[in-house]
């Protein structure tokens, strides 16, 4: 601690801090452009010049460390002259186009110029003009406005981990850009819009659509991954105009992913269902809520009376709110059915699977890990903010190791990696487990016997010793592990590894409320208290593969959201009654559903999401429901009343979450199961015959909103359906890049273009799920046949 004085105010400041940080903490304003608390110090704009006693010249506050006894003046004549001088120079080349600039009203340059600028310019000469660049569908550029602060360049290098923008040329000719015209590909690229202090980088989809002062700001929570980034929704006339981050150091710091920033472009898509519809004698007709709800109750009653409640089930997307899932399970249980699930993409439901797949630690804890083993995770595209935390760990020197079915490209340096077909991931993990056992053979005799068949390689040994020797080690299982047909085996082995190595076990769940689904009791075998039910119902897979007579579907599109779309569509079409609560209508729904009830997306309803670290985050509706749509909790409440079930008298969504809060188990003490499970059978650790599908879900295909977000669908990350094979595997099947192939799984089939992709291991075919073109296929992780088409 040192004692300093700024503008006469005595302050105690930590050693090594810069003056600007001390001033910021004390609430003393110092103008700045290049300084940003999350970026390295460039000290190139000179706007932050202040007078420091005994220093000959004004000093930049952002690059001057505090020293004991320092006296600083931020508003003295000397400081002000320096600041005004810099301002005048910055404005020399800056255009006077504020009236047509999107940044107007929220521009740092505009604000500082108000305080430090002069009202007339002494500059008479020609201003510099810089050609705009096309850097993709998300960010507009007006490079003449750039003041060369290099925040955007440092963001790429330091935060995104992908240097795409740079400063080319020199002096008068310096320009910020990509040099060669190309789109930014970082999944965090939109953050440069917030960083840019002027209107040089602005949001392309938002361009010229509203002024900052016309919109009101509403708090919300990002609904597309299990991070739960905090958001501000900017709304005008009942419409979300744009989305920006809301600072929360514990979660997203000051960043958000592009998916969270631009998904709003899908909210009011043309496919929004704006009024209830019922199907009578095969024809759809729009109707009012009363009629639609009566129709729903009547049809469900009829189905239950005819076939028993066991023939009814409910499925909810994992991005539904806690309140919605809690009410849906309450409704179904009230009707006598335990057929409930939110784990739509899960393939394995064996008893060895995890009890509560959550992160097992705080998000901020991820940056403190010294060794990490990622298993089946493309964290960079699945939880971009999670990857950012891991990147910080890696830059600190942590070893991030991988057992993955695809050689994903990460924005942090990865250490040892095993890239292997999905079915061989189990034996790879078993290899690590056995290597750990071998470190202490005597103590682990039983495990060694159980793992006798497992081959251990040097890479398994390196992974094992890294995990064991690190102070803070972690195993993180991602989406491809959660959707893996042998999730139970992976979980049991992961558990064993954490016990033997002292590493922490964590899951990176896919959706914004995946963890909430477990807590809300949206499960066939456990209720909202976390207690086992006496007669468990069917899980998601069983419901959709065995077929039921009636279904209630919440906020989901089975062809894109389920582990086995072909089976799901077949059985939904065969059912007697399908009630669909959905914000969007699809042609598939028109085929299988009998009633369509328009419900709201996250922006139009209050609710709660529980993120990966188990944090409950409540949010409110930012805008009114579109058309006749209604918040799901209200619809389910009325259905409860119409079915004359007790306990459906809520007056607010909060009342529901409070009720659940009192019941739900605490994740930290709930445990994850698998501690005493016997080790999985590993005799078939060779590869299955033929190809194994990797059905991962691309970043912009994850849920019904994102799939309709026009801005995101134009980016390079928007995947088209295709089959990706490595060159050798393509050769073995007589296929070439660009060829057409017939891909089949049992009776299901699709015609897909072949892409040769070196990231895919032997014995595997990467065929993304969640994208149009692959929805006719079966299990996302299962055997596939591939034939060449002429």
């Amino acid at each position: 601690m040192v004692n300093i004085e700024i503008d006469g105010k005595p302050l105690q400041v930590d050693d090594g801090k810069m003056l600007i940080e001390a001033a910021d903490e004390a609430g003393i304003p110092i103008p700045r452009f290049c300084y940003h608390k999350k970026l390295s110090i460039a000290a190139n704009c000179r706007m932050c010049l202040v007078e420091v006693e005994k220093a000959a010249k004004p000093l930049p506050a952002c690059a001057t460390p505090v020293t004991d006894g320092m006296r600083v003046y931020t508003r003295s004549a000397k400081a002000l002259t320096a600041q005004k001088g810099v301002m005048e120079f910055l404005l020399i080349n800056h255009p006077l186009d504020c009236p047509i600039c999107d940044q107007g009203g929220e521009c740092e340059l505009q604000e500082v110029a108000m305080g430090y600028g002069s009202d007339v310019s002494r500059y008479q000469e020609k201003k510099r003009v810089v050609k705009d660049k096309n850097i993709g569908p998300l960010i507009s550029t007006d490079m003449t406005r750039c003041i060369h602060c290099t925040r955007c360049v440092r963001f790429g290098q330091e935060i995104a981990g992908l240097m795409e923008l740079g400063a080319t040329g020199r002096g008068e000719h310096m320009e910020i850009g990509t040099y060669i015209e190309q789109s930014l590909v970082s999944e965090m690229s939109g953050n440069v819009i917030d960083l840019c202090p002027v209107g040089a980088l602005t949001s392309k989809p938002f361009r010229f659509s509203a002024r900052a002062w016309e919109m009101s700001q509403r708090d919300s929570i990002a609904p597309h991954d299990s991070i739960g980034s905090n958001l501000h929704l900017h709304v005008r006339d009942g419409q979300v105009m744009r989305v920006v981050p809301r600072e929360n150091e514990a979660i997203n710091e000051v960043w958000i992913s592009d998916r969270d920033r631009y998904s709003y472009t899908g909210l009011n898509s043309e496919e929004r269902l704006q009024a209830p519809r019922i199907k009578q004698k095969g024809a759809w007709q729009e109707t009012d809520w009363q009629t639609a709800l009566d129709f729903t109750v009547q049809n469900l009653r009829k189905a239950i009376a005819g076939h028993g409640a066991q023939q009814t089930g409910a499925l909810s997307a994992p991005h539904c709110t806690l309140e919605e899932m809690y009410l849906l399970q309450k409704l179904l249980r009230g009707l006598g059915s335990q057929n409930l699930d939110h784990r739509l993409r899960q393939n394995d439901f064996s008893p060895q699977t995890p009890q509560y797949p959550w992160l097992g630690q705080g998000l901020a804890q991820l940056e403190k890990l010294d060794a990490v083993l990622l298993i089946g995770s493309n964290v960079r595209k699945e939880q971009p903010i999670g990857a950012h935390r891991l990147r910080k760990a890696a830059l600190r020197g942590a070893e991030v190791m991988l057992i993955n079915p695809v050689d994903y490209d990460f924005n942090f340096p990865a250490g040892e990696k095993i890239i292997i077909a999905p079915d061989a991931m189990v034996s790879a993990l078993a290899g690590v487990a056995r290597a750990l056992c071998e470190l202490d053979k005597a103590a682990n005799k039983t495990h060694l016997d159980a793992l006798a068949q497992v081959a251990v390689s040097s890479i398994h040994r390196t992974m094992a010793s890294r995990l064991k020797s690190a102070d803070n080690a972690g195993l993180l299982l991602g989406s491809s592990a959660l959707a893996h047909p042998r999730l139970g085996a992976l979980h049991t082995l992961a558990k064993l590894i954490t016990r033997l190595s002292g590493a922490r076990l964590g899951y990176l769940p896919q959706a914004s409320n995946s963890v909430g689904g477990w807590l809300a009791g949206m499960l066939p075998d456990r209720d909202a208290r976390g207690k086992s039910v006496s007669q468990p119902g069917l899980n998601a897979r069983a419901m959709l593969e065995q077929g039921l007579k009636s279904y209630v579907l919440l906020n989901m599109e089975p062809e894109f959201d389920c582990a086995n779309p072909a089976a799901a569509l077949r059985n939904l079409n065969a059912a007697e009654c399908v009630v669909t609560l959905t914000p969007y209508v699809t042609s598939q729904m028109e085929s299988y559903a009998d009633v369509l009830l328009p419900v709201t997306p996250f922006s139009e309803t209050p609710g709660t999401f529980v993120n990966a670290e188990g944090r409950w985050q409540e949010f409110n509706a930012a805008v009114r429901p579109l058309g006749e749509a209604r918040p799901t909790w209200k619809v389910l409440r009325v259905l409860g009343n119409l079915f004359e079930l007790p306990g459906f008298d809520y007056v607010s969504a909060q009342e529901i979450s409070h009720e659940l809060r009192a019941l739900a188990p605490d994740l930290a003490t709930a445990g994850n199961g698998g501690d005493s499970a016997t080790l999985p059978q590993l005799d078939n650790h060779g590869q299955t015959q033929g190809l194994m599908r990797i059905g991962h879900v691309p970043i912009h295909s994850i849920d019904n909103i994102v799939r309709r977000a026009s801005a995101l669908q134009q980016t390079a990350d928007a995947e088209q359906a295709c089959i990706r094979l490595n060159a050798a595997e393509a050769g073995r099947h007589g296929l070439m890049d660009g060829a057409s192939a017939r891909v089949s799984q049992d009776e299901a089939e699709a015609r897909l273009t072949v892409r040769v992709d070196a990231r895919v291991p032997d014995g595997a075919a990467l065929i993304a799920a969640g994208v149009p073109g692959s929805e006719t296929l079966g299990a996302s992780f299962g055997a596939v046949n591939v034939e060449r088409l002429a």
Binding site: T178, Y179, P698, T715
Partner: protein, 171 residues
Amino acid sequence: MNAVPMNIAAKPLAELISAEALAEIDRWIAKYPPEQKQSAVIQALHIVQDQHGWLNNERMDAVAEYLGMPKIAVYEVATFYTMFNLKPCGRHTIAVCTNISCMLRGSDVIVSHLEKKLGIRLGQTTADGKFTIKEVECLAACGGAPMFQIGKTYYENLTPQRVDEILDKLK
């Protein structure tokens, strides 16, 4: 747009320059700690330019790949220094200094004389491919301002007349 899984791989540097040139770059790389091999970027660019006369994107990308740098970081270096030619140039490149000392001593007159005489503007090449003129920053010969450099030779205390004599002697 289809997904671009990874940065499109650049052509290997070894295919673009001679083995001796590559060995020369390796000698520069060896002067720095391994994790800082990008310190050799200026030398590497010079060596590649010496082979081809100028740097195109393919050549810069190959250098980036070889040194493990982001491509844009190589473009930053290549565009910063006027010694790097980013376009094909004539047999003789006339690099005219227009920095402060030369400007005060009349570099404007030299530039306009050159432009008129050769019928091209700064940054252009004559149709016969003989001359390129370009503007550069201070070449540290302020004592002899105004000046320009042709190839590796400095010509100082220029006047339009001296310029004519110098150019006439060049083949």
